[in-house]
Assembly symmetry: C2
Homo-oligomer: 357 residues x 2
């Protein structure tokens, strides 16, 4: 099966086909933006961590695992309470198979990763259910530094792929989308998406909004990753192609970026079919409302895995994250591997991890 | 005049000519490694700062100036007590004229720069005249992280250019060269090179050496920049070309790198004629004793400047530093500009700075 048959295209289809042509012959650089919002500490909001106390280690541990193949901040790779692995497993498999270089950016993680990383002097976001996430000046700082980092990275590659690791980020993303006027239904790392809980948090958070200035909105109900990645997109998209690798959270980035400006002609979203097929969310419609850009969605073929931990991704657990979808798309464009081959490689990595642990 | 007539080649001449051929058609990435050794606090050792208290701001300020065109940590660009500008002025002019991207790496600077930078979790070096610079494990950490950063950066370019900003670094470099068995006479940022003072410091420092293990030697009498850049060289030189941009300090890096291993076929030193013509030093002989690599030396033509602050570089003030020589060589290879054109651009930048200040 040709790998292109594992892709689905939405939004600006012509541009998607054009990107597929040009990207496959070019260089890729994957950047992982790690951050933190105390919103993730609300019980039941996220499964991105084995328990409440380990959630804050998930972003640095994702970065360490991508780099070293194991973690330093925690003893095992991040997993859900019942032992399902972080989507970084898919990202790692994809980047390795295609020898795509990657860099880690600390944009407000509570814990610094134990590897060299790009420092941005940003602090974590507060819990939006009880207080403002950031100050307006912290949002400006995030956008400014994002612009600087985006400019540097875009000048070193043909396609800059941006992924994120921020537990609880789908809730802040939902708040940002709603505040910016989009009737969003978001995906979650949890199969029985706690929609009620999220809606309660978002509704109470939205009450604090007293200005329609985008910076003020992000400060009140967003998280540090959103303005930083929006800043990266706004500068990088004038230099290279930029693939936002993610689902709901990247649609919130896109919504804010449309307020500060970016080059649509160089921008696309890369994600998994688990996001674009998620009935509980309306990801594609939101993106199409925000910008005339392509969405490339890939089916990683995990439903055929013999490992329950991998099969779970196809069943609604952690559908996306750590730039998994965009990394798989990038690796397939570079290697021409199809989902069958990708699954084979992911199972080897899964086996390596879970026999070595 | 053809820019090649502004170059002088030493060491492995064939390889130098080969590099000149291939580099000019490729991509460059400049990395500035900022660090600190308390050795610079010894009165009379360095002029890299307007006064004793401002020396520690020189490395971050050099990085900020390269990036923004002005400094954030201090109100003016770094200069000598009598107002001669940092060699970063030459680096800035060179990188801008050739649109060469650059990244800042914090490898033990006492002050963090106010821009996004690569963080390495390294601490400053101690004053080698009174105590060990680092612990052995800090040296291992520097080498390990240097290897990681070197590998990442080399995968993003064809030629990785490495410059440094570490006040007092020629003294620790002298100590490292002597300890590793090279009878080095080093250059200095001061025209009447305080050779006596440096020799006293180095002699007393060498007395603390009780092992011939290279890591132990660096820990006792080196500085954090040397093992970090040596680590960068060791990994990067197996992936891309690496130009060590500097004089005395880069010869010390080379001496230590020869103990941990690097690929000579991808390595060269780029510096200014003010270093290679320095009668008080024996830079060329030292490099030739360490490795069979090329040295490319460029005459920036500053002796013809109408500004005393630029002319001073040709008179022995801050002959090199912040990767000035290597940046000028890289920019000339990319733009085919000769020294005359470079001087013109440097004078425009000098004028911009000293009328805007």
């Amino acid at each position: 099966m040709n790998f292109l048959e594992n892709f689905e295209l939405f939004g600006n289809i012509d541009q998607a086909q054009n990107f597929i042509q040009t990207m496959s012959s070019g260089r890729f650089l994957f950047s992982l933006v790690i951050s933190y919002t105390e919103t993730c500490e609300i019980p039941g909001i996220t499964f991105a961590g084995a328990d409440k106390d380990s959630i804050k280690f998930t972003p640095p541990a994702d970065a360490e695992y991508l780099h070293y193949g194991y973690c330093k901040s925690i003893d095992k790779i991040p997993m859900t309470p019942d032992g399902k692995p972080t989507p970084a497993l898919l990202t790692k498999t994809a980047l390795e198979s295609a020898s795509i270089p990657h860099l880690t950016i600390n944009a407000g993680s509570k814990i610094s990763p134990q590897l060299p990383f790009i420092e941005t002097s940003m602090t974590s976001g507060k819990n939006i259910s009880i207080q403002d996430a950031m100050t307006d000046s912290q949002v400006s700082h995030a956008v400014d530094y994002g612009r600087i980092v985006g400019r540097s990275m875009a000048s070193l590659t043909d396609t800059l792929v941006i992924g994120e690791s921020i537990p609880g980020g789908t809730t802040t993303a939902l708040a940002v989308l709603r505040a910016l006027g989009f009737d969003a239904k978001v995906s979650s790392s949890i199969p029985n998406n706690p929609i009620e809980l999220k809606n309660q948090i978002v509704t109470s958070a939205l009450e604090r909004i007293d200005s329609d200035h985008p910076y003020s909105i992000i400060a009140k109900i967003g998280d540090p990753m959103i303005p930083f990645v929006a800043g990266m997109l706004s500068s990088a998209s004038s230099i290279s192609k930029v693939m936002l690798a993610g689902g709901t959270q990247m649609s919130a980035v896109l919504a804010f970026a449309s307020k500060i400006g970016f080059n649509e002609e160089n921008t696309l979203i890369g994600t998994t079919s688990y996001i674009t097929h998620d009935q509980s969310a309306n990801f594609k419609n939101i993106v199409e409302k925000i910008a005339d850009i392509p969405i490339i969605s890939v089916d990683p073929g995990l439903k055929n895995s013999k490992h329950s931990g991998l099969k779970a991704f196809s069943e609604g657990f952690a559908k996306e994250g750590v730039g998994a979808g965009g990394s798989i798309i990038s690796s397939m464009l570079k290697t021409r591997n199809n989902s069958e081959k990708f699954l084979e490689l992911a199972e080897i990595e899964y086996h390596r991890l879970f026999t070595s642990l």
